[in-house]
Every structure is written in structure tokens, then in C-alpha cells.
Symmetry: C2
Subunit: 240 residues, 2 copies
DNA sequence: CGCCGACTTGATAACCTTCAAGCTCCGTGG
DNA sequence: CCACGGAGCTTGAAGGTTATCAAGTCGGCG
């Protein structure tokens, strides 16, 4: 259920694992740090291998750790009393998540769920204040993270308040191809398995409506989709 | 259009103005500070008198100042391409707002508009990093502020994704009475003038729907409302 | 007094959910 | 290997919710 933790005792170890991910250098939390600082930070990191459907943390859990996603994708959602899930944001590589401390929270307010296999670094929340104080670039990355969340959430509020279901679905799919898109022959594919139900939980509608509109777009040659896969062939043709 | 600024040259001045508001002592940004620190902070503050409909800042403006609301109420909204307003959150006394720096932004992402007369303190954004470093309680207040915003926004997303219009309106009104309610004979009144249109902009619906449901509730003896006024008589009878 | 903003209310129709049924694909166990 | 079962997907029909269109009322202010 919960992903395995691999505590890093030797920083050579951490570096080996982490340098394997060539994207690390570009990831903001690490990009502006000195080699010494980076070493310090990685020494205290735990590498988490994340598998599809893993829950990194759940709404209400004590906020023991904060994370940086290195690879993969997560959905962050809240559950309603009657078991419905409402997806609030997604996390992509390079983003911090589980940063309850940045909000003065002791517990996580949402649930984080892996939508594909991935890799993350994690630190004990006890480190938060010290990291913020000692590593300016890390602190800046935290500000950027909460700004990105706010933007993504306020976009969603505006969309739900003003757009019809078809446009909301179109926008959600477009956004996913931009953030997680992989170029394939004849289009851009969302880079992880995603169901009609998943999309409905992102847009506040039903899986039936998602299915209907995607069928319509498929007939129009705008998207191509099958079981858990979505390929956008003509992004510009999606209804806004 | 824009509220007048009253620069404070003598801290005796600032203290006089500010101690007049007996609530200040409870306001988090100031509650945990030493007298010396509070004096330092107030010395650098500008007191802004805010009048109904004043715009403190607009979406896209350079983020020159950050604020603490002492009295009154603000709506924070975004405008769509076709001129619609979508209210994202409200601000009540004691809350920080305009804290773009906390999100690593150079510009304001939303517009802040006074829904009644009020009073605020403001500081130049240049002070932000120093305040965060030197005044732990102020920093804690900032974390709390962004946490409250996130909660309010994610609540709104969940509501819009799962509730019908009637319930969303009921919830919005209930929330307003809790945050801005004034006890009057026979109920709790929302403490500032508010139109059906305002409520529709908070809930992603039309003024017509708001009017219809409020008429229905009025007939049922749950609310009493007139031009720009809303009094809730039986909060527990509102449909969730 | 007259205007204008705020509010109300009916009628109509569009949009979307709900209900229902059936299909396809894939993995699994006999 | 094949049958079965279930998850994911599709599509029609029906009905409810909500927006839109259209009038018209109310009340305060210049």
C-alpha cells in the first residue's frame, strides 16, 4: 500500500541514485545551491520509489514528511462524505508536495496518489524551518510551489464558475497534455494511464459526460482514445 | 477610486490610530511580538482608510504593498475575458492580503475590492523578506494566511464539483454569516451590503437562481432579505 | 417625480445527470 | 486454453436542474 523507503546512509549513495535522474539539475529546489548545500540536503533525503496507486499520504495524516517529485505524476484530491473524490491539483516532476509546514499545518489536508510509477525525495518535516532558513533557493522553490498551487486552484474555480462541462473537460485534457504530454505518432499522449472517471473527478462532472464528449471529439478527429489512454491529435481544435 | 494613504511619521501617531482598534491585540501578526518589535513594524506601516467599492489592487498590478485588514471586508476576485467576475475568497479583519511576495510573485494575481468601509495597514513589499526573517510571529501569520486561502479555495472547488446550486448558495450564505455575521433581532445578518449578483459571483451561478432560492427560503421562514441585506433566521434549516 | 439599480417571477429551452443496457478488453483461474 | 468476471467504456432515453429570455415590481436618490 505505502511505498518502500530507502534511507540513504552514504551521500555517495544518494548522489548515485539521484544523478541517475538527469533532470535533477534543472529542478528548482536544487538548481541554485552550492555543491556543499546540495550534498547536505541530499544526505538527509530519503528516496521513495513510488508505484502506480501508491498513496504518499492521506487527508488527516500527521505531516511527517515533505517531498520533491523527481519522476512520475501524482493527483492531490479531497474526499467528500459520500466517498466521492475531487481532484484539486496534479504534481509533476520538480515540484514540491506534502509541504504542510509551509501552511502552518500539522496534518495533510489532502490525499496524494500516484497515477503512475515514479520517484521522489523526502525529508522529515522537522527539517522544514531549517531548510527554509539555510537554503534560499529551496525557500524560493517553496514559494513558487504554493504560488503554482494557488494558480491552479483559482483557475479551476474560474473554470467551474464560468465554463460548461464540454469546455472544462477540453481544458483539463489540454492542460494534462501540456504538463504530462509525450509526443507519439499523430499527436500528444497524456503520459500516464487515465480513465474517464479520473477526468470527471478533475472537472466536477460524470464519467458519462466525459465519455460522450470524447466520443464526439474522436469522430471529429480531434482526439484518439482507448482504455486508459488519451491522445490529442489536434489540440487547437478542442473547444477552448 | 483608490483609497487615500496616510503615511505615519511618528509612531505615537500610528499607535494612536491603531490602538483605537481594540481588536488589534488579538490579531495574529501582532499578538506574539515584543513591544519593541510591534513599534518597529507599526513605524513602517501606512494606514489605509478603505471605502466601499475601493479597489486596493488589481489583477496584474505590480505588487508594491502587502496589507493586514484591521476592519471591514474585502472580496478577492478574478475577471474573465468577457468581463465576468469570479469571487475566489473573502478577507476579514486580522487577515493579511496582497502578499504576492509569499508566492514569489511580482504582480497581484487577483483584484481586491472593499465590500464595506474599513481600515488596513500596509507596508512596502520591499519589507517582506526582512519581516519574514525578523518577526517570527509575522512569518507564522503569513503561513496561516496562505493556509486559510488554500482551505477556502479547495472548499470552493469541492462544493462546485459536488453540490447543486441551491446547496452552494446556502453554504456561501452560511459561511458569510459565520465570518461577517452581526446578531440582530430574529437572526444573524451578513455584516455588509450584498446583492444577489454578488452571491452568484461567489457560487458560479446566476442572480436569478440566487433570487429564486432566497425567495423560497424566505417563504419557509429561514431567511429574511431585502435590498442588499440578508438576515438568516434559522441557519440550521438551510439545505446543508 | 422619474430614473436606475436591485429584485422577482413566469415561461422556455438547453444542458447535463441519471438510469439502463450492453459492449470490449484484459487478466485470471479452472 | 478457454471461460469467466470485472473494470472501463459507450450510448440511448428520460427527466431534473439551471440558465436564459422576458416582463414587471420595488424602492431609494437626485
Amino acid at each position: 500500500m505505502s511505498p518502500d523507503d530507502y534511507a540513504i546512509s552514504h551521500h555517495s549513495n544518494a548522489h548515485a541514485l539521484v544523478h541517475a535522474d538527469e533532470a535533477l539539475a534543472q529542478h528548482l529546489p536544487f538548481s541554485g545551491l552550492s555543491d556543499q548545500q546540495r550534498t547536505d540536503i541530499l544526505d538527509q533525503a530519503t528516496v521513495k520509489r513510488i508505484s502506480l496507486n501508491d498513496t504518499c499520504f492521506s487527508e488527516g495524516d500527521e505531516a511527517r514528511n515533505f517531498y520533491v517529485l523527481l519522476d512520475g505524476a501524482l493527483k492531490i484530491y479531497r474526499s467528500t462524505d459520500d466517498g466521492e473524490q475531487v481532484v484539486i491539483i496534479h504534481i509533476s516532476p520538480g515540484q514540491m508536495f506534502g509541504i504542510a509546514r509551509a501552511y502552518a499545518d500539522d496534518t495533510y489536508q489532502m490525499t496524494a496518489n500516484a497515477v503512475c510509477d515514479g520517484l521522489a525525495l523526502s525529508w522529515s518535516s522537522e527539517n522544514w524551518d531549517r531548510f527554509m532558513r539555510d537554503y534560499p533557493e529551496f525557500e524560493r522553490a517553496a514559494r513558487k510551489a504554493i504560488g503554482e498551487r494557488r494558480d491552479e486552484m483559482s483557475d479551476k474555480i474560474v473554470d467551474m464558475a464560468t465554463l460548461q462541462v464540454e469546455q472544462r473537460i477540453a481544458k483539463a485534457i489540454l492542460r494534462l497534455t501540456k504538463r504530462y504530454g509525450k509526443t507519439v505518432e499523430g499527436g500528444i499522449e497524456i503520459g500516464f494511464p487515465i480513465t474517464r472517471q479520473d477526468i470527471s473527478e478533475m472537472t466536477g462532472t460524470t464519467l458519462h459526460s466525459v465519455s460522450r464528449y470524447m466520443s464526439k471529439w474522436q469522430k471529429a478527429g480531434i482526439v484518439r482514445s482507448s482504455r486508459r489512454r488519451v491522445i490529442v491529435e489536434r489540440p487547437e481544435a478542442l473547444p477552448i
